[in-house]
């Protein structure tokens, strides 16, 4: 029972922080800034992009989902609140037409959109290596939000392929939390970095005139520089982040 009370406390604290953020953004009109008519029209298109690209990836049989490109796109050019709404509604619509099992994951999708928006606001969506960092941060947030849902709603092991990794880790004697957290951390970064890079490629291809019609089009102004040097920096950053994950994560989870 102690575990349940402790979890309930975490849940209430998280909820309180969210409510405060919500009220703050509403009172200071930061939230309203995200939602112009262009944003409201872009959101359905972005959701359709999410679900349709998921389908193309299935045709190509790639080991990623890429089902949040539209969410990241809206987060970057319209702002974090619009991104969060796109993510949440994307999962709700997928639940309506594909499989109701998508519903419980909507906080993860919302967190992905919000993180993309915040990272773009601080200028981390302007060239290749920064986008890679953003992708990694998105993966980290998705892991943190997704792990409790995975454990509380689905008991930690679901019918997905990555559950085999969780099962393996559990057999090696790790706790359920450590096993699920590690699995998500292994599975997420590749997908989210690829998602961010594709969203960046899309933004790069849009004209400045078109982008300027969105509330935060300036977030996506691409910095011109030496492409080759940027690619090298991007690779170094990825390697560093993976090393960080391998060495730091086990000590946090105590696994």
């Amino acid at each position: 029972m102690e575990v349940i009370t402790q979890n309930a406390v975490y849940f209430v604290v998280a909820l309180a922080i969210l409510v405060i953020l919500f009220v703050w953004a509403y009172v200071t009109k930061r939230m309203q800034k995200d939602f112009s008519t262009m944003t409201w029209v872009l959101i359905p298109v972005a959701i359709a992009i999410n679900l349709t690209i998921g389908q193309i990836v299935l045709v190509l049989k790639l080991p990623v989902y890429l089902d949040s490109i539209g969410t990241v796109l809206v987060g970057v050019i319209c702002g974090p609140w619009a991104g969060a709404l796109t993510g949440a509604l994307s999962n709700i619509i997928a639940g309506m037409i594909l499989d109701p099992g998508w519903f419980p994951w909507f906080p993860v999708a919302a967190a992905i959109g919000a993180t993309a928006g915040v990272m773009a606001n601080v200028g981390y969506f302007k060239n290749w290596w920064k986008v890679v960092v953003t992708g990694f941060v998105i993966a980290l947030v998705a892991t943190i939000v997704g792990t409790p849902i995975s454990i509380i709603v689905f008991g930690g092991l679901s019918a997905s392929g990555s559950s085999l990794i969780t099962a393996f880790l559990l057999e090696t004697g790790r706790s359920l939390l450590a096993a699920v957290l590690t699995t998500n951390f292994i599975a997420e970064p590749l997908d989210k970095i690829a998602t961010s890079l594709l969203a960046f490629a899309i933004i790069d291809g849009l004209s400045a005139r078109y982008l300027s019609r969105f509330p935060r089009g300036e977030n996506a102004a691409v910095e011109k520089g030496q492409q080759q040097i940027q690619m090298i920096i991007a690779l170094v950053v990825v390697v560093l982040l993976i090393l960080f994950g391998i060495f730091v994560l086990p000590s946090i989870t105590g696994g």
Partner: protein, 257 residues
């Protein structure tokens, strides 16, 4: 993956005649009972869910969804969890090297029945309520009209975009794009497939924004609706009853433990 499938089945039944909000409250009540109430509640709820399928006259489609979507997921989860979850003392049997214990089977059964109840109640809501009916009822009760626009227009755009994606895949293949061989080639194929699809649909955004702006999209006046959705006294009583049920399920659990 077929995107233009909506779950809704038109029929005349008690569930169909209920107000959409009442059914939504029912779904949340079922989830609250399954997840927050006593552990024996979730398995018990499976029976009422089945009965509701018959009341709504959608038992055929509902059992179809169970067989195709819910049972494979839930069955696989049950096996995985019974085999791999730690903390077992009373071992029932050993499968190769994995111990299956009474405790893990019990936990797995609880999780699986919770998920069954959750997904089933959502499925029943979607089988007996058309998305646009649900959205217009919620809009009438004060949900900003923009939300209804997003949901309904996504449901309209999706089949178009899916068709466009099929056309692009076929067109690029006929130009010789390799979508089946090595891993590197398949990654390379992603950009020529995603690019035309995304840019093509983003171009339309601007025109559509002007079009809906001209039709008073951002107007704050109260909009009238052509389609009236019934909301009877029975609906109101049911809703309040269900809300009390949700509160009671949480309070009783807190008081007992």
């Amino acid at each position: 993956m077929n995107l233009d499938r909506s779950f809704f089945v038109p029929a005349r039944s008690f569930l169909h005649s209920l107000n959409p909000l009442t059914k939504l409250t029912l779904v949340f009540a079922m989830i609250a009972l399954a997840f927050f109430s006593f552990p024996w509640m979730a398995p018990v709820l499976i029976l009422p869910v089945f009965v509701m399928g018959f009341i709504g006259k959608v038992q055929k489609q509902y059992s179809n969804v169970i067989a195709k979507l819910i049972l494979p997921t839930v069955g696989f989860m049950f096996v995985m969890q019974s085999l791999f979850l730690p903390d077992g003392k009373t071992i029932i049997f050993t499968f190769i090297i994995f111990d299956v214990s009474l405790e893990t089977v019990r936990t797995a059964f609880l999780t699986v029945s919770r998920i069954f109840v959750m997904i089933s109640s959502f499925t029943l809501l979607l089988l007996t309520t058309h998305p646009s009916e649900l959205m217009s009822d919620l809009t009438r009760r004060g949900l900003p009209g923009q939300f209804a626009y997003v949901i309904i227009s996504t449901l309209q755009i999706l089949p178009q975009m899916q068709a466009k994606a099929q056309t692009i895949i076929a067109a690029q293949r006929s130009r010789g794009l390799d979508t089946q061989s090595s891993f590197g080639k398949r990654i390379g194929a992603l950009v020529p497939l995603v690019g035309p699809l995304v840019f093509g649909s983003l171009v339309e955004v601007e025109e559509r924004a002007i079009a809906i702006e001209a039709r008073g999209f951002t107007s704050t006046r109260v909009k009238t609706s052509l389609h009236e959705i019934p909301d009877s006294g029975l609906d109101k009583i049911l809703r309040w009853g269900l809300i009390l049920l949700i509160i009671a399920s949480i309070v009783s659990r807190v008081l007992v433990t």
